[in-house]
């Protein structure tokens, strides 16, 4: 194997809170090219996320609600540009017993995004992920969840987004009237739609419009986001789970360069999603925030028709 060749040893792990990349320098102390790129990516990510937020918040009005988006953003939000793909999928499932229709647009959008970049949109353009990142910055310590917890996303996808609406729909309960559904449990809906309408209701004298259950859910979510890094993405996001399944095949991917690895441990310690980056990096638990690329040995790549060396 080509990754067994000897490498210069660097200090195993820098102290917690140490400046980025201090252990990722070469033996001579100079910074490697990959490290510089990784640090640039890490610094620019919040700005890119903020830029995409402007795109999802309908700068041109609400005229694209007929097109499913590729990020988790509630279509009931007064400022949403696209339809929420999860809500659209659940609606299709509920409609299936009454009027079987194939969601061509939804599948097409998701396949293109997933094949092009996998879960890159989670780390770089999802507005709800951005919000969780911001909430996470308010508190220093985070609870680390075991990797297997990421599988609950697929239970949410299969159970809440597809099967439950389908079963209730076959019993004649339309999606809007289903007491338990992804939209009724979704914290993004509570935050992006329930909260603005409730505040509007308070201002216009109609009172708090969000149910106590959804309000409590929102509070619980905010509290969780303070102590767990991206709790929704990590545990429940069906869209992130679906996109991440394509991380193995996507044209954009991450590649480990064994010649650049100085065993500094930076890749693994920078990963807030608990991915064992030192073993495999294109996995379903990854949101492709690209923080691991600050180590220099993991490089963002775009696959080409020529086979990689």
């Amino acid at each position: 194997m080509d990754n067994l060749e000897p490498k210069p040893k660097a200090p195993a792990t820098g102290p917690p809170g140490a400046p980025d990349g201090c252990a990722a320098c070469g033996a001579e102390g100079r910074q490697r090219e990959g490290t510089v790129l990784g640090r640039k990516l890490s610094r620019s990510r919040p700005w890119v996320q903020a830029g995409f937020l402007g795109l999802w918040l309908a700068p041109a009005g609400q005229w694209l609600h007929g097109i499913p988006g590729c990020v988790f953003h509630c279509y009931s939000c007064p400022l949403s540009a696209f339809a929420c793909p999860v809500g659209v999928l659940a609606n299709y499932a509920a409609l299936l017993p009454v009027a079987p229709e194939a969601p061509f647009l939804l599948l097409g959008v998701l396949l293109v995004v997933a094949a092009a970049s996998g879960s890159l949109v989670c780390g770089w353009s999802c507005p709800f992920g951005f919000l969780q990142d911001l909430l996470g910055k308010l508190t220093p310590g985070k609870i680390t969840l075991p990797a297997w917890t990421g599988h609950t996303r697929y239970a949410v996808l299969a159970g809440l987004v597809i099967l439950l609406p389908l079963i209730l729909g076959s019993k004649g309960v339309r999606f809007d009237n289903q007491a338990v559904s992804i939209c009724r449990l979704c914290p993004a809906g509570a935050l992006e739609a329930g909260l603005p309408y409730s505040v509007q209701g308070l201002l216009t004298g109609h009172g708090w419009m969000m149910s106590w259950f959804k309000s409590a859910l929102l509070l619980a979510f905010v509290a969780a986001a303070l102590f767990i890094h991206r709790p929704w993405c990590r545990l429940f996001c069906p869209l992130g789970g679906l996109l991440a399944l394509f991380n193995r095949f996507s044209l954009f991917h991450l590649r480990f360069n064994p010649k650049e690895c100085v065993e500094c441990n930076l890749c693994r310690s920078r990963c807030s999603m608990g991915v064992k980056v030192d073993r495999k990096v294109n996995v379903s638990g990854c949101i492709r925030c690209l923080e691991c690329t600050t180590c220099g040995a993991i490089e963002p790549r775009l696959a080409g028709p020529k086979r990689e060396a």
Binding site: A99, G108, R174
Partner: protein, 116 residues
């Protein structure tokens, strides 16, 4: 982002993770075909105006409460009280009422902000 101490990495255990271009390319191509099909897809669902709904209209209907079901247009229950005029009006409506033949239809002009 906080740096969390971790056990040392072992590059020897690392999967080389060779990436194939053609798999991703084929999936992306299939996605593009589906988008084109979806954009030109006329569903089997009627619209309120009497035509057939485009897929984009159906997706928009999901987000704006634009799906209509027959039970929404069901006849109102008989009026309470002894108002003979109201009872007569209700009887006339009942005589004229016929259950819709469609199961669901799309109201492309619906603007309910939060259907759920």
């Amino acid at each position: 982002m906080e740096r969390v101490p971790q056990p040392p990495v072992n590059p020897a255990l690392r999967d080389p993770e060779r990436h194939d271009f053609w798999t991703g390319f084929a999936i992306a191509l299939a996605g593009i075909v589906l988008i084109v099909c979806g954009a030109r897809h006329l569903t089997a669902i009627e619209t309120v105006e009497g035509g057939t709904a485009w897929e984009t209209q159906l997706v928009k209907a999901f987000s704006s409460g634009g799906l209509q079901f027959p039970e929404q247009l069901a006849l109102a229950p008989p009026p309470r009280g002894d108002d003979p005029a109201a009872l007569e009006r209700w009887a006339r409506q009942r005589a004229q009422y016929s259950r819709p033949t469609w199961k669901v239809r799309v109201d492309a002009g619906a603007t309910t902000p939060c259907p759920t």
